[in-house]
């Protein structure tokens, strides 16, 4: 009952304690095993590490999107002065604290890019700047898409993310000690302008990291779609993280079915949001049917990739949508856990579907001044049907697991001190929250 506000139960365990070490070690183990196997697979593939780097980018985008979702949720919580979510806000802050290690992991492909590796991003490839095959690319996009400016933006994006996350987390932890309600007010006032900064950062980081893989294809809603997927992944992660924390005997009374129900609602809502934006992107391109845009879907609809497309449509949207509609699938924890894991897996499939088709580059033959025919790389999405293959490789999965390890390692390091904002003025009403 909302009119009987609760306080934290005196027997409640809300300190991270040994949980931090356990999560960190699990993550470090996964990451170590994953990277060793992946490096072995990458070295043996003989494709100049191309597949390795594409899989690396897919897995890394996966954990980046979770952290982005975490930061968004923390900011949204303050922006709307949310009450129910106060009990899980510290866990969301833990997820948002993972940016530094994700930044370092991302250097794994940014440093090679700056050093001249051209097989990941076509715009960084030498042949992309040949006027015979790409004169628009260099004249219109070259100033934005080049390794040095890309790396500057990479640092900038993470500086913004890290700065915002750091601010919100440190002020929240400061309130644990002082109990000053002014801190909540200050965070709420700041969250509005910072939300605008967050929106632009997220849209542009998705353009740069993922959409620029096919530099001649563009979709303005791509960033919004990425943001939707990021939130699906984050809420699935938050549900699982809450369950892990409770399984370890902590916060067993604070987080109730009511909170899981609301987290389930968020999972459902973002599932639909993601589908809405994905369809918006599809329908405009399908209707206009302009070759340079349609090729994106032609590739994914009329080749082996159609099965992945159907899997994304059914697995990431239709199936979870229909089942998460019900109140009970969100309130019965085993079923909620199932859908959280399911949506995390399909979020990765969705990223895979976005990234991997760009791996297969077409070739172009250009006659030089001396009459010799030279073979050049013409880049991804050139409409050559013989290249429309999935070409699944084990390294895709091993790197994903390694990245999950990196994420757990990072979460484990951030899991310290209080697992709940003990002196937040909204905590009592969050503890007594019920759905009606």
């Amino acid at each position: 009952m909302s009119n009987a506000e609760k306080t934290l139960h005196p027997d409640e365990k809300f300190k991270a304690g040994k949980l931090s070490g356990a999560v960190t070690k699990t993550g470090a183990g996964l990451a170590a095993v994953g990277f060793v196997i992946s490096l072995a697979l990458g070295a043996g593939a003989g494709d100049h590490w191309k597949r390795f780097f594409y899989a690396y980018l897919t897995g890394w985008s996966f954990i980046l999107s979770i952290a982005i979702g975490g930061l968004f949720f923390v900011m949204l919580h303050h922006l709307v002065k949310a009450r129910w979510s106060t009990v899980v806000r510290r866990l969301a802050e833990v997820v948002a604290s993972t940016f530094p290690i994700i930044f370092i992991t991302g250097l794994g492909f940014v440093i090679p890019l700056v050093a001249g590796y051209g097989d990941l991003y076509y715009w960084a490839h030498h042949d992309a700047h040949n006027h015979e095959i790409n004169h628009h690319l260099i004249s219109k996009l070259g100033w934005w898409l080049n390794p040095s400016y890309f790396s500057v933006r990479y640092v900038l994006y993470f500086a913004i993310y890290f700065g915002m996350a750091r601010y919100f987390v440190s002020k929240s932890r400061l309130q644990d000690e002082t109990g000053d309600p002014e801190l909540s007010t200050r965070l709420r006032v700041l969250s509005a302008p910072l939300m605008i900064v967050f929106a632009f950062t997220t849209v542009f980081i998705s353009f740069d990291l993922l959409m620029s893989l096919a530099p001649k294809w563009y979709s303005t809603i791509f960033g919004v779609n990425f943001f939707g997927g990021a939130n699906i992944a984050f809420f699935a992660t938050l549900i699982l993280l809450s369950l892990v924390v409770q399984r370890s005997g902590r916060l067993t009374r604070a987080i109730t079915t009511e909170h899981y129900h609301d987290l389930g609602k968020w999972l459902f809502a973002w599932t639909f949001f993601w589908a809405y934006t994905a369809f918006s992107q599809f329908m405009l391109i399908w209707y206009a049917n302009i070759p340079e845009e349609t090729v994106f879907y032609q590739y994914r609809m009329f080749s082996e990739w159609q099965w992945v497309s159907i899997a994304v449509l059914v697995g990431h949207f239709a199936f979870p949508f229909v089942f998460l509609l019900s109140r009970w699938t969100k309130r019965i924890l085993p079923s909620l856990t199932f859908f959280a894991v399911w949506q995390l897996v399909f979020h990765w499939v969705d990223l895979y579907w976005n990234v991997m088709p760009n791996l297969f580059w077409d070739k172009a033959h250009v006659t030089g001044h001396d009459g010799k025919v030279v073979e050049l790389m013409a880049g991804p999405l050139m409409g050559n049907p013989s290249l429309h293959t999935v070409g699944f490789s084990p390294v895709d999965v091993t790197l994903w697991i390694a990245m999950i390890g990196v994420f757990l390692l990072s979460v484990g390091r951030a899991l310290n001190g209080n697992l709940i904002p003990v002196k937040d003025p909204q905590l009592p009403s969050s503890l007594s929250f019920e759905n009606y």
Binding site: S2, W286, Y287, R327, E434
Partner: protein, 428 residues
Amino acid sequence: MDNHNPNEDAQREPDPSNAEDAANGDLYGVLAEFDTPGELIDAARKVRDAGFTEFDCYSPFPVHGIDDAMGIKRTVLPLLVFGGGCAGLLLGLLLQWWTNAYDWPWLISGKPFWSVPANIPIGFETTILLSVFTTFFGMWILNRLPQVWHPFFRLDRFARGTDDAFLLGIEARDGKFQAASTTELLKGAGAIAVEECYLDARPESKKLPAWVYGFIVSTGVLALVPFAIIAKARASTSTEPHYHIFGDMDFQPKVKSDATFPLFADGRGNRGELTGTIPRGGLNADDVFYRGLVRTEGVVDASWTTELPPSLEVDMKLLERGRQRYDIYCSPCHGYDGRGNGAIPRRVQAGGGAWVARNLVDPQGAVAKMPNGQLFNTISNGFNTMMGYAAQIPHLDRWAVVLYVRALQRAQNAGPQDVPADCRNEVR
């Protein structure tokens, strides 16, 4: 529909012992008042535990937890809404299939008559529409709304249920109900007052007032009038002209293009240009610039100019403009390099068809030998299967294209002599 009787107010005192009152009939139930929402919830739980089912709670605002305390089961409304949503989706798709693919096939954007991606937005809307309708009307029906009269309205206390009182009413038809013991139960549950409520015994209270019947009948008849007018119009013929609301808009004193007009000898509405006049801006006297022709004194037939019009200022800006227009209008067939290998011929050839676009830069080809004026005329008026571009490309831009085609011919057939002497070593 409260047939309010001022004399009755005196009888409606909050005194439950007023049983010998002539207007009062059977006992309807008892109404108890509580001080706080919390007490109401506790009382509701006690009443439920005592086995009552025919009771309800009334409060100025929704009291959380009251459903649970009263033992009300979860509503089936969500299931109905799910069904309504599914029906909305199916009906939305059916509507689009029937209208666009079956009853009146209509080709839009070269898509199939029935193409599901295009139907999704409408299907989405109709899903929401029927979900919302089911939610709204389902809620009314399940709650038996609208309810315009309730026996408790006879108690003044009941009106305070929308203001500051938390009320619980138990109906006498409940099997467990006994006036005395039920009142005791409610008082024991913390009621600050318990009041009995009697039905109105007067025979007229059982009937609707006469004016309500009049209103319903007259509204029903009026609602039929438009349908009657439509039915009459469809079933009969009329010599009356249409009724025109904006007559001066429907009938304007002008002759429409290509219509007949008996006033003129030829009976046509179109008059053409008057002899000896030229439309404003239509003189185009410069034969070289507008038609690519030069006339020589004493020669009847004009010939194609081999030069560019003298009024043309040839510079890089004009050449750049020509390149841009060429890339837009000419390159799809003739190719960016002018060799006739544009996207369209290549696509047709890839599909096994034969479509040849002329090679504009072949030094032995017709275009290289064509005078500038003829090239200009070809761009303007077309040639063979090529349509004319006079409507799309203005005169000056057409000359810019001529200039660019000449530049292409030069560039595509360049030899070592075209390279400046000081750079020749760099070219191999």
